[in-house]
Structure formats: structure tokens, C-alpha cells
């Protein structure tokens, strides 16, 4: 593996000699003989382009990398990502994480079909901004990668809701699904499918999917009790019914985004507050360890920007129920941008600051 010239080459050889001396009993004569684990350890420190180059060095390294490579990112590719994926998919069959987010859309259905045909152990796949993909890719992924747990399809506007629903019937282990911006692909039909099939769902991003309504979110809440993060940014048809259903069914909810959901009223806020109270562990004899665990339960982040129908008393009730919601700078997690009538809502920290220091905290 002579990729450097002159003095650096000598240094490499010296390093190699020193390494050989420390590894007794193993017959290593050249770079091509180093153990697979060591090779993968070294490659984990270099960027993906060099990993791909390394896989073409010799048969030994090709086989080692094919069996050992679990993580690959190709977003640096500006022109030829499609042909690159077509050539790499049959080699790297043990991939578990594959990041194919593109700046300009290059990926096409045949590349995703190649991935689905070879990389059956894939757990995390990022196909965001792949504007040229069609439903064919989703059908291929459904059949080829049933172990998917994290899937990012944001900004892929060419999918349809039937295809995503089909995918969910096969990929039942999905925990993290990003469908931000997939306007045509996300309808109530899709959400029902997710609620029926992907019961382990924890994080769902439905930003800007403006077709969805309360029926979809309610079936989602019913079917996915483990839901922790839900982003409904820009889903303008959502009303209080959705939030009430989420408050009732999704007890582990940590983060809720309702930006621009202008139909949201105080009723939604009070239902969230009541669910927070309902799920508090009862009894006064809880040890302090359990008390700190409770502080991690409940909403940590709530975005109600532009929900101008809300009044301060309702939002303050939510802020008081969930100690992890903050309006103080530095830990800001209750975001109310554009709600000019909610300026009086504060978390408890700000009141403490007021008490201790005689000047306004803001």
C-alpha cells in the first residue's frame, strides 16, 4: 500500500515494524495481512471516500471491509452518487447505517433497489432530498430491508401514501421516521397504517404534511403508545382533538411541535396539563431517586409558535405541570414565537431569578 512517497513511507514502514513486534504469534508480513478488526478500527477514523478506496486495494481488504463495514455516508457525492451506490451495494452487504442525503438529487430507483437486494441488515437509512425516487424504491425497501428502525424520507415529494403504508406493513420495527415535507405521501391513510403496523414508533416528523387531519393523528396516538417525539409543524388541519388523543394515549411524549396549527385552543393545553398530572407517580413516600426520574418524564419541549388562539392561563398551566419546559434563556424549550399575547408565560426558574436578583430576568 504505497500511497505516500519519500520520508513518510519510511515512517509508515517503521510503524508497521513496531506493530509487528507487538503482535506475537500472528504471521503478519505486509499491510494486507493486518487483522480485520484493526483495519476496521483504522478505517473508522478516516472519511468515507478513503474507505471506499481502501476496499479496492486488494482482495483481502475488499473482503474484510465487505464483512466489517457497517456505516457509510455518501452525501459528499455531487454528481455520480447513483452509479456509486449501484457499484457499492453488492459489496457492502453488512451495512447497518447508510446516509444518502443529497444536495442535488441524483439517486434513482435502481440504486435503492440494489440496496434492498443486497443490504438486508440495514437498520438506518437516510434518503432525504432524493427528489427523483418513486414508489418503486419503497416497495423494494419493504421487501429487502425489514429490519429498518430509522428511516429519513424528508423532502422526497414523489412518494404516494399507498407506498408508505405498504412499507409499514413490512418494516414493523420502525422507531424513527422522518416524513417532513412529503406532502403527497402523508395522509390519514398513511397515519392509520403507521398506527396499525409500527407500534414501536418513537419519533415521527410530519412537518408540512398539510393533508393530515385529526382522524390520522388519533389513530397514530392509539397505535403508537411509545411515541416520544411528534412534529406536526405546518399541519394546518389539526385541531384540539389530536392533542387530546396524544395526551391520553402517548404517556411518554417528550416533544411536541405545533407550529402554525392555528386551530389549537386552550382545550389542547389543558388536556396536556391534565395528562401530566395524571401520570405523576402517586404517594408521598417516593425516594428522592425516583423523584429525579420523574423530572425526566413529561414534556420537555413544546412548540406552539403562531398558535395565536391560546391564552396565557392555559399555557402557564402546561408550563407549571412539566418542570422540564423552560422559557429561560439557555434552556429554552417552550417556544411561543409569534404569540404576542403569551409574553407573560414564564417557567419557574425566571421567578426564582426575580426573587434572588433585583432586576428583570428578560
Amino acid at each position: 500500500m504505497v500511497m505516500v512517497v519519500g520520508e513518510t513511507s519510511m515512517e509508515l514502514d517503521q510503524c508497521f515494524q513496531m506493530m509487528m513486534m507487538k503482535m506475537e504469534g500472528v504471521s503478519i508480513k505486509e499491510w494486507k495481512d493486518i487483522p480485520v478488526e484493526l483495519l476496521m478500527r483504522i478505517l473508522s477514523l478516516v472519511d468515507d471516500r478513503n474507505v471506499i478506496a481502501a476496499s479496492g486495494v486488494c482482495c483481502g481488504w475488499r473482503d474484510a471491509i465487505s464483512l466489517g463495514l457497517t456505516r457509510l455516508r455518501l452525501s459528499w457525492c455531487n454528481n455520480n452518487m447513483n452509479s456509486l451506490v449501484l457499484s457499492l451495494a453488492p459489496k457492502f452487504i453488512k451495512l447497518q447505517t447508510l446516509i444518502l442525503r443529497q444536495d442535488n438529487p441524483q439517486l434513482e430507483d435502481n440504486a435503492v433497489e440494489a440496496i434492498a437486494n443486497h443490504c438486508h441488515e440495514l437498520q438506518e437509512l437516510d434518503l432525504s432530498k432524493s427528489l427523483r425516487l418513486t414508489d418503486r424504491s419503497l416497495y423494494a425497501l419493504a421487501h429487502g430491508c425489514p429490519n429498518l428502525t430509522k428511516l429519513n424520507l424528508s423532502a422526497c415529494t414523489s412518494f404516494s401514501d399507498k407506498a408508505i403504508a405498504y412499507l409499514t406493513t413490512f418494516c414493523r420495527n420502525l422507531k424513527v421516521l422522518n416524513l417532513c415535507g412529503c406532502v403527497n405521501a402523508v395522509s390519514d391513510y398513511t397515519l392509520e397504517a403507521i398506527g396499525n403496523n409500527c407500534n414501536q414508533m418513537q419519533s415521527l416528523n410530519l412537518g408540512w404534511c398539510e393533508k393530515i387531519s385529526d382522524d390520522g393523528v388519533m389513530s397514530l396516538a392509539y397505535g403508537c403508545p411509545d411515541l416520544r417525539t411528534l412534529d406536526l409543524c405546518g399541519c394546518v388541519l389539526i385541531t384540539d382533538e389530536s392533542v387530546v388523543a396524544l395526551a391520553d394515549w402517548c404517556v411518554h411524549l417528550r416533544s411536541l411541535g405545533l407550529y402554525y396549527c392555528r386551530n389549537i385552543t386552550d382545550r389542547a393545553m389543558y388536556s396536556l396539563a391534565q395528562s401530566g398530572v395524571k401520570n405523576k407517580p402517586g404517594g408521598q413516600w417516593k425516594s428522592s431517586a425516583k423523584k429525579s426520574k420523574f423530572d425526566e418524564e413529561g414534556l420537555r419541549s413544546l412548540n406552539i409558535s403562531q398558535c395565536t388562539a391560546l391564552t396565557p392561563s392555559a399555557v402557564q398551566a402546561v408550563c407549571d405541570t412539566f418542570p422540564a419546559l423552560h422559557t429561560c434563556s439557555g434552556r429554552h424549550s417552550l417556544v411561543m414565537s409569534g404569540c404576542l399575547n403569551l409574553t407573560s408565560v414564564h417557567c419557574a426558574c425566571i421567578l426564582q431569578a426575580h426573587r434572588s436578583v433585583p432586576h428583570s430576568a428578560h
Binding site: Y259, N303, T327, V335, M336, G338, C339, L340
Partner: protein, 129 residues
């Protein structure tokens, strides 16, 4: 109200002239032939990072409309208006769309629009193509 929530726009976008918050994508321009009191204005199908003021009825060159003025969420400066209701049938297409004054936003390359010395003193008006 605390920390701002800003929507990140990817791609070529128009931004607020003062605080550089991106407000609308170039792809969302519907018409470039609108006029406001400061000169040119563009009609957008969708804008982000703005909040609305009070509803007002305004007489424009094309008829009576109900509009709300829109302001940048970050710096609060006025950037244009949004049509809520159009009284005339052939103006209905404007409902829900927003007009951004070219003077109040900087273009996708960062270039600004400078108003000519002699400003149009008439009330806000808008024309169609």
C-alpha cells in the same frame, strides 16, 4: 415571548432586509408586477417567519380587499401584507397569498432594491400582470 422559532428555508430565498431572516422561497413567487407605496412588490404563495397584524379593509387599485399587514418575527419590521378576503370575483386568486415589498427584503443573492428618489405618493396599490 422568549426564544424565536425560525423556519429554515433551503434554496434561494428572499430575506428580511434588516435581520436577514429568510422569509420566502424564490420558487414561491406568483407575480412580480405588484406595486406598493415603496415601489415594486412580489406576490408569494407561501411565506414563513412572519406574524400578522390586525385585519383591515383597504381599497386598492383592483378593488376592495381585507388584508393583514405582516411583520418579520425576528425584528418586527413590516415586510408586506397578506390578502385574507377579496371582494371581487376576479381577485379571489389572491386570497391566502402574501405580498412582500421588494424594498423590505433582500434578494436571494443578497442584493437590495433601492427606491427611486421620487416615490409614488399614492396609497398602496396593486396591479395584475
Amino acid at each position: 415571548m422568549g426564544r424565536l422559532f425560525l423556519v429554515n428555508l433551503e434554496g434561494k430565498s428572499y430575506s428580511c432586509r434588516h435581520c436577514k431572516t429568510s422569509i420566502a422561497l424564490c420558487d414561491d413567487v406568483v407575480s412580480k408586477s405588484f406595486q406598493s407605496r415603496h415601489g415594486k412588490a412580489y406576490l408569494f404563495s407561501k411565506v414563513a417567519n412572519v406574524y400578522a397584524g390586525k385585519k383591515e379593509d383597504r381599497m386598492m387599485m383592483t378593488g376592495m380587499h381585507t388584508v393583514v399587514d405582516i411583520y418579520c418575527v425576528k425584528c418586527g419590521s413590516y415586510v408586506g401584507w397578506r390578502y385574507e378576503f377579496a371582494f371581487e370575483k376576479n381577485q379571489k386568486y389572491k386570497e391566502g397569498k402574501s405580498v412582500l415589498e421588494r424594498y423590505k427584503v433582500c434578494g436571494p443573492d443578497g442584493n437590495n432594491y433601492w427606491v427611486a428618489a421620487q416615490e409614488v405618493e399614492a396609497g398602496e396599490s396593486d396591479t395584475d400582470e
